[in-house]
């Protein structure tokens, strides 16, 4: 039976997906602005952060209103709760993208460091994780969401390797310290984006199955091999 307020829940779902699209797009643009030293792109990302913030506020408002007025239960309640939590993660993704764009702006006038390609690879994985996690909002696919969670250590390891490599680089070439530190922070931001994608994936498992897998072994099983694929030579 269709209810007169079903459209409200559909609008809520669409809003979250719209926010997810924007967060992915901003992350992509922020990385591109870094790689291409494109100041215009950096500015575009920085200016767009407000839009993500507004979407988060709007989603919270719609969720609270729906819970108060429509009394959702079961899977419907999970949609609303997961939507609120995921929107918070997406807002943080937007913040990280903005942070990357700000640092990309400062790096744009400097010669490129060799670790850029490693950062690009990390970003590709984080973006794939984010896309897959958001797909699960539509598909409610537990296995796909679990696969996202299990990719997180891969990005963590890559971040650590970038950190080690840039540290060595700074010792060898003190003139690169300022640039290396900016790149370390960018790497950390990407690692955080992967963390948010993981959070969203965990929330999607709750949406699909009603079970909370946070901080459980289930999401840590079948991690990738300890040795991550070799980085490009720096």
């Amino acid at each position: 039976m269709k209810r007169f307020f079903d459209a409200e829940l559909e609008a809520f779902r669409s809003r979250l997906l719209q926010m997810g699209e924007r967060a992915q797009e901003l992350t992509r643009l922020a990385i591109r602005s870094l790689m291409e030293a494109d100041l215009k792109l950096s500015d575009q990302v920085i200016a767009s952060d407000d839009e993500i913030d507004r979407l988060e506020v709007q989603i919270d408002d719609e969720a609270i209103s729906y819970m108060t007025l429509r009394g959702p239960v079961a899977s419907e309640l999970r949609v609303v709760i997961v939507g609120m939590k995921a929107s918070h993660d997406l807002e943080r993704v937007g913040d990280e993208a903005t942070s990357i764009a700000r640092r990309a702006r400062r790096l744009a006038i400097e010669p490129k460091l060799e670790s850029y390609s490693d950062v690009q690879r990390m970003a590709n994985i984080a973006l794939e994780m984010l896309r897959d996690a958001l797909d699960c909002f539509i598909l409610e696919d537990e296995q796909k969401a679990l696969a996202v969670c299990r990719r997180d250590p891969e990005v963590d390891n890559m971040n650590r390797m970038v950190y080690r490599r840039l540290t060595s680089y700074m010792i060898e070439r003190p003139d690169t310290i300022a640039r290396s530190i900016e790149l370390m922070f960018i790497s950390k931001s990407i690692e955080r984006i992967a963390d948010h994608a993981t959070n969203i994936a965990e929330e999607m498992i709750y949406l699909a199955k009603g079970k909370d897998v946070r901080h459980t072994e289930q999401v840590r099983k079948e991690q990738p091999p300890a040795s991550v694929p070799p980085f490009t030579a720096s």
Binding site: M1, K2, R3, G71, P72, V73, A74, S75, E76, L77, R78, K209, G210
Partner: protein, 287 residues
């Protein structure tokens, strides 16, 4: 004292359900009853009103000193089921039944069991408050005891106060005990009926939509009362109000077309039901 039987909570005989009311996964529909005392143990219980079958092989275990909510659309058999728990349906001519219905291990439908004794053990409060119109508040509360031959005035006075206190009504009526029961407000009348039901100290209280005619304040008082009473009584409540079932009960059973579709912890029924029909019903998308 009959032996208390402990058995996991079960759903109805799934095999007999038509496809549209099959539980999705029978193994996931019953919470564990480990450590709980069982009040009712009901096995393949069917009931007919003349040629019309109202209940189909309902199997369910109702724990003691818990609130069990029965939900379902109109005509699904929930009130029939409730009335079967104290043989109230026998007042309807042409009723027959099959299956087993035990209270604390004792078969309530055994030929040697007197239905009036059953109704003393299993009290009932109805949708519409029904104090005896010619009786005072005190007489209403004590009529069950008096019918059972209790005459000790001190005992009756003590039981009157206890029952009205348990029904959260004492403070409101202690100075007007000899006014007619029907002079009370709707919410007070309903609590008076609860006081009347518990005055004979039953083991079980059956509540058939007890708040459907009450305003939100009176409803809140009755719900608070249900919460207090479950310390001492097994409570089974039929309600159309999903929020009430969610607020008040520990277990919830969803009935449809005379069949028990799903029975689980209330939290499970309202947060993650196993059966899509249960989900549709509790979220108001049913039909």
């Amino acid at each position: 004292m009959p032996t208390m039987v402990e058995r996991p909570l079960t759903t109805s005989a799934a095999s007999s359900l038509p496809p549209q009311v099959q539980p999705a996964d029978p193994a996931s529909t019953g919470p564990s009853a480990a450590g709980e005392t069982v009040a009712f143990e009901i096995d393949k219980f069917s009931l007919w009103y003349g040629p019309r079958q109202a209940l189909y092989e309902v199997s369910i275990t109702i724990p003691a000193t818990r609130v069990t909510a029965i939900i379902g659309p109109s005509g699904c058999g929930k009130s029939t089921f409730l009335r079967a728990l104290n043989r109230m349906h026998e007042l309807t001519p042409g009723t027959r039944l099959s299956g087993r219905l035990l209270l604390r291990g004792q078969d309530l439908y055994s030929p040697e069991i007197d239905p009036t004794v059953v109704r003393r053990r299993v009290g009932m409060v109805f949708q519409k408050s029904n104090p005896f119109p010619t009786m005072t508040i005190a007489e209403n509360v004590l009529c069950g005891l008096r019918l059972n031959g209790v005459t000790d005035r001190d005992f009756l006075r003590q039981r009157l106060e206890e029952s009205l206190r348990m029904a959260a009504l004492w403070d409101e009526v202690k100075d007007t005990l000899f006014r007619p029961g029907i002079s009370l407000s709707g919410g007070q009348q309903q609590r008076l009926c609860i006081a009347r039901a518990i005055a004979v100290r039953p083991e079980v209280l059956l509540l058939d939509e007890p708040c459907s005619a009450l305003d939100p304040i009176a409803t809140a008082k009755v719900e608070e009362l249900i919460h207090e009473l479950k310390r001492s009584y097994t409570i089974v409540i039929v309600t159309h109000n999903m929020q009430q079932a969610a607020r008040c009960s520990d277990r919830t059973a969803f009935f449809y077309l005379g069949k028990l579709v799903e029975y689980a912890d209330t939290r499970t029924i309202f947060m993650n039901p196993a059966n899509p029909q249960t989900e549709a019903y509790v979220s108001g998308r049913f039909g």
